[in-house]
């Protein structure tokens, strides 16, 4: 655990050293803030003191920003050769993967914590449903975990950050949109199957405040699968 934490701390420090963290925080806040307060289907148009709009926009922002956070994690280490140095220290492949995962989740948590002023503002306007808000944040966190795990897997299979970014978006696209569309187009058990795979419906059910174990299992499965595949991809160096 100590090792995982050491790696996570380094990842986080690197984000803040290299300005990536600041750029992502500013863009994330700007993007979600713009659509929550100023444009389109915003809080004032809805006219209710809840943060549904924000959670929906934030899920989209994270969909785009998480690949940018995870893309360099293993791809760059592989390219510059630092991966060799890291893996010959007294750490296991799993600890490296979990450390990197924890590091990027912490950055996402910082970004989410920075949106707390939105919550305070809305709760001053009207009567905010506290439980719903907490569940909304929980939904965003679960969604981030799933996409981060996918991102780390994508980063582990290539030495090119752009390829890692695009691969994450490509895989993410299926969970975020395509399975949902397919679920609408098919009926019966096939439709049901795609509906189970659709991330949006699980996210909405969590952020509506319904904590179903089905949704938790769904998000944790994607996370564990992504991280496991990442570890597997690292261990392939032993064979070839």
């Amino acid at each position: 655990m100590h090792t995982i934490w050491t790696i996570a701390k380094r990842e986080l420090a690197t984000f803040f050293d290299s300005l990536i963290a600041y750029i992502i925080l500013v863009l994330f806040l700007g993007f979600s803030g713009f659509f929550t307060w100023l444009y389109g289907n915003d809080v004032f148009l809805v006219g209710q003191a809840n943060l549904r709009v924000f959670f929906n926009i934030a899920s989209w922002s994270l969909f785009f920003f998480i690949p940018a956070i995870t893309m360099k994690m293993l791809a760059e280490e592989r390219k510059t050769g630092t991966l060799e140095l890291l893996l010959t220290k007294s750490v296991s492949d799993r600890q490296v993967i979990l450390g990197k995962f924890l590091g990027s989740i912490l950055l996402v948590c910082i970004a989410l914590a920075a949106t707390l002023p939105y919550v305070i503002t809305v709760s001053n306007i009207g009567n905010l449903d506290n439980g719903g808000t907490i569940c909304g944040y929980l939904g965003l966190l679960l969604l981030s975990m799933a996409y981060t795990a996918i991102g780390i897997f994508a980063s582990s299979i290539t030495t090119n950050q752009i390829v890692a970014f695009m691969t994450t978006l490509f895989i993410g696209l299926f969970f975020h949109i395509i399975f949902g569309v397919l679920a609408h187009n098919f009926t019966g058990s096939l439709g049901q199957f795609f509906d189970t795979l659709d991330l949006q419906s699980h996210f909405e059910s969590v952020s509506r405040g319904v904590l179903d174990s089905k949704d938790l299992v769904y998000f944790f499965s994607i996370t564990v699968l992504g991280l496991y595949l990442g570890e597997w991809s690292l261990s392939k160096r032993h064979i070839s």
């Binding site: 510059t80 060799e84 140095l85 893996l87 220290k89 007294s90 750490v91 160096r237 064979i239």
Partner: protein, 309 residues
Amino acid sequence: MDIQIEKLTKTYGPQKAVNDISFDVKTGEVLGFLGPNGAGKSTTMKMITGYIGIEKGDIRIGGKSVTDPESNFKQHIGYLPENNPLYLDMPIIDYLEFCAALQGVEKANIKDRIREMIGLCGLNREKHKKIGELSKGYRQRVGLAQAMIHDPEILILDEPTTGLDPNQIIEIRKLIRDLGKEKTVILSTHILPEVEATCDRILIINRGSIVANGTPETLRKQAQGNEVLKVRIEDAKAETIAKALSDLDTVQDVDLIEREENLFEVQSIAQQSSKRNIFKLCVDKKWVLTELTPLETKLEDIFRNLTVN
């Protein structure tokens, strides 16, 4: 800690990068790993450090196999990979702290270890910079510092002196020699004088197989065969001297190299030395012996003989 390597094999596709090699390295020994590019030096080092898996054979470190999941052998190894990869966007001190923490240095000792390494590797003036701002030589020092931060019992250095200036090279060689007294060191290099200056034992590998293994002296003796002397004798005609030399019991062959200067190359018969006989000859004939130099086979020649196919 001893390292024992037994019948190690690694194939990349149809090519055998390392082919059935076995050797031992003992505590207090510096082993020089020589070989042309692509001979399998780095592959072997990567297997010892646990970066790539073992296909066939075994590596035992301190008696425990590296394939044993219980053995925490990585903690006992300090490794400087080829090309010295580093996190360029990290400050030196943070990086060393990170390495120390990963290698299980106790929290209370980390600061002291970093201070010691910065002193030992001569990083004091640069210590507040980011690694990316350093010149190549200083990066190499950071690479050495991270390898030694946890005071490992085994040091594996893949071309440790590349990019250093001559003064630094001498310092680093001295450092390796000093470390080698108590620790087990394997270093690979292309620079042959470096091996002579630092290593107790040389291992030359070519195309994945060991072609020579021994101290610099034994290798030289093996390659050299008969004694060859460069001799200059004055006060007589070259032909007369050549005749007299070849009549000596121990001499197999005499070559006249320079007629003007009476310079000869005298090859003795196997296992014999002609030095005393040549001197006696000159005394008897009242000639003046102005040069008598044994010609040594250089390490370069040994290397070329063994690795040029």
